[in-house]
Amino acid sequence: MTYPLLPVVPSLTPVNERFTGLRHLGRVLSRDWLAAFGLVLVVLVLVLAVFGKWIAPHPEEGAGLANIPNRNLAPGAAHWFGTDELGRDVLSRVIIGAGPALSVALFVVVAAATIGIVLGAIAGYRGGWFDTVIMRITEFFQSFPPLLLAMITVALLGAGPVNVGIALAIAWWPWYARIVRAEAASLRDRSFVEAARAMGVPTWRILYRHILRNSTTPILVQATVDIGTVVLWVGSLAFIGLGAQPPSPDWGLMVQEGRGVILNRWWISTFPGLAIFVTVLGFNLIGDALRDILDPRQTKR
């Protein structure tokens, strides 16, 4: 005789506690010192960006005013980061540079996210030809190195910080569109969305309440990492002459200005470059920790 399978009594497995959003961020930071370090860096840069004018020892030199008698001073008590070829205090230049760097980055991310969210949400929710067209366009954008795309766009639009912002936003929106589109498409047929539709809730309201709110976390994570990357790219474009023009306190431009004398007067390039590095590193460290939210498979760190 053979017994059939024994009826298995389901055992209760403890369900992992789930954390979302800010609470999760707090938890991540408290047990992850690298992410906490990233947060310190980001806060530091944000403080400089907002209060730079009052923190910088020579704000007018920071903005570009030359001070020829003080030119090419090595770092010392009077000028911690030394002075550049026009006698401007490098520390002040670096501090004043935080504002423009972060505002361009913020503009790019907000603009790209807005375009991407709107197009992605409509594409995913509506489906049909609109979806096809939008997805083809994003694929087209993504079949090209994004920094090169931005460089070409700036080259054609003409150098300058505003055009850099526009070019980077153009290069970036498809990534957001794809995130939101995937979310919208997966939610479209869920019962609560159908119920809302059946009750006559207007489309924009469904999009806002059910679809956008569900994609907030991935978008925020993406935006955090992107701010860092945009700062890096803005600096890179300025370095080759496609971004801000002298005498703007742009970090990339400042590295370029000291490039020829790196072996003689190292401080002119080193400190602005360090500012870019620190900013990007800060955002990347936080973004890396936040990725746990998106990808719970990798929580065991």
């Binding site: 005789m1 053979t2 399978l5 024994l6 298995v8 389901p10 055992s11 497995t13």
Partner: protein, 319 residues
């Protein structure tokens, strides 16, 4: 005759940052003789798989074992147990579809094992692998060796897994739910193959399962586990015919074939406690139809009543 495997007071704790969070195995004693087939049965979460892994000498991260597990004199809880894994003791897992590495051929994976434990030339390795793939009655052993896992059926993969397990002539073969993921007919063939090979080579088998039917079909003895303890142990026929412990009784009653077909199935009420920390008294007390006050106070020991048949219930009348 000394036993091949001797497990004494095995406890397994899960520890997180210095704190014990659960104790899924709470003092197991078990002996397996040479050439014996023993079944370990119980619900999911009763500690049967963890016990199997402790015997193998490989616990999952965060688990620590105390007590002793001696396999032919070798300490399986010692760090050097890895040298005996795959050689003195090997294991066949539940799901052959995921137990093989998807990006290596079956032959390459068997070769890794041979290479780890034997000092063969490449040609000897090939012959050895082919020999064992033939032994498990794979229709085309050479082709099977050259195949990737996704190219073979579940039954064929399980045969290949058994071949891998036997490659280095183990003294003990652990089968962890070896047929659960397979069709009924394929499962039957696999079990017949194991029995056949066991008669041929004489290794011992530790069969972990929740299926009393399989135990009945192939096991000499059976150990019933509940909440990390052996609660009944004895000859298979004896235990299945006259269970002593109310839990074993409940398991048998829950089998459809044992009941009047017009009566509803008698499932054991309640569930296994999800965490076994700080249990006092009998762990089955809350679900037991025969529970008395003492059950919650006295921790029942596994005691022999009749010849080789032992159970852990304080209400059992012993001679």
């Amino acid at each position: 005759m000394s036993a091949l495997l001797s497990v004494k007071d095995l406890r397994i704790d899960f520890v997180d940052r210095g704190r014990v969070t659960n104790t899924p195995v709470r003092g197991i004693d078990l002996e397996v003789g040479h050439g014996e087939i023993i079944g370990v049965v119980g619900e999911s979460g009763c500690g049967k798989t963890l016990t199997g892994l402790a015997v193998l000498g490989l616990l999952p991260g965060g688990a620590t074992a105390t007590g002793s597990v001696l396999l032919d004199g070798g300490d399986q809880l010692a760090p050097n147990a890895a040298n005996r894994r795959g050689e003195d003791v090997s294991i066949v897992f539940q799901n052959p579809g995921t137990a093989f590495n998807p990006v290596f051929t079956i032959g390459a994976q068997l070769r890794n094992v041979v290479r780890r434990h034997r000092d063969f030339t490449k040609r000897e390795e090939d012959a050895h692998i082919l020999n064992y793939l033939t032994l498990v009655q794979l229709p085309d052993p050479a082709r099977a060796a050259a195949s990737y896992p996704h190219e073979l059926s579940g039954g064929m993969l399980q045969r290949a897994m058994i071949a891998m397990a036997l490659l280095c002539e183990p003294k003990l073969l652990i089968l962890d739910e070896p047929t659960t993921a397979l069709d009924v007919t394929v499962a039957k063939q696999i079990l017949e193959l194991v029995l056949d090979l066991q008669r041929q080579f004489g290794f011992s088998v530790l069969l972990i399962t929740h299926n009393l039917g399989i135990v009945h079909d192939i096991c000499d003895r059976v150990a019933v586990l509940y909440a990390g303890r052996v609660i009944e142990l004895g000859e298979t026929a004896e235990v299945l015919k006259s269970p002593k412990h109310p839990y074993t009784q409940g398991l048998l009653d829950a089998l459809p074939g044992n009941r009047d077909p017009n009566m509803p199935l008698a499932a054991i009420r309640g569930t296994v406690p999800s965490n076994l920390l700080g249990i006092t008294g009998c762990a089955f007390a809350d679900r037991c139809p025969l529970v008395i006050d003492e059950c919650r106070r006295i921790d029942p020991a596994l005691l022999e009543s009749t010849n080789g048949h032992a159970d852990a219930c304080i209400r059992t009348v012993r001679a």
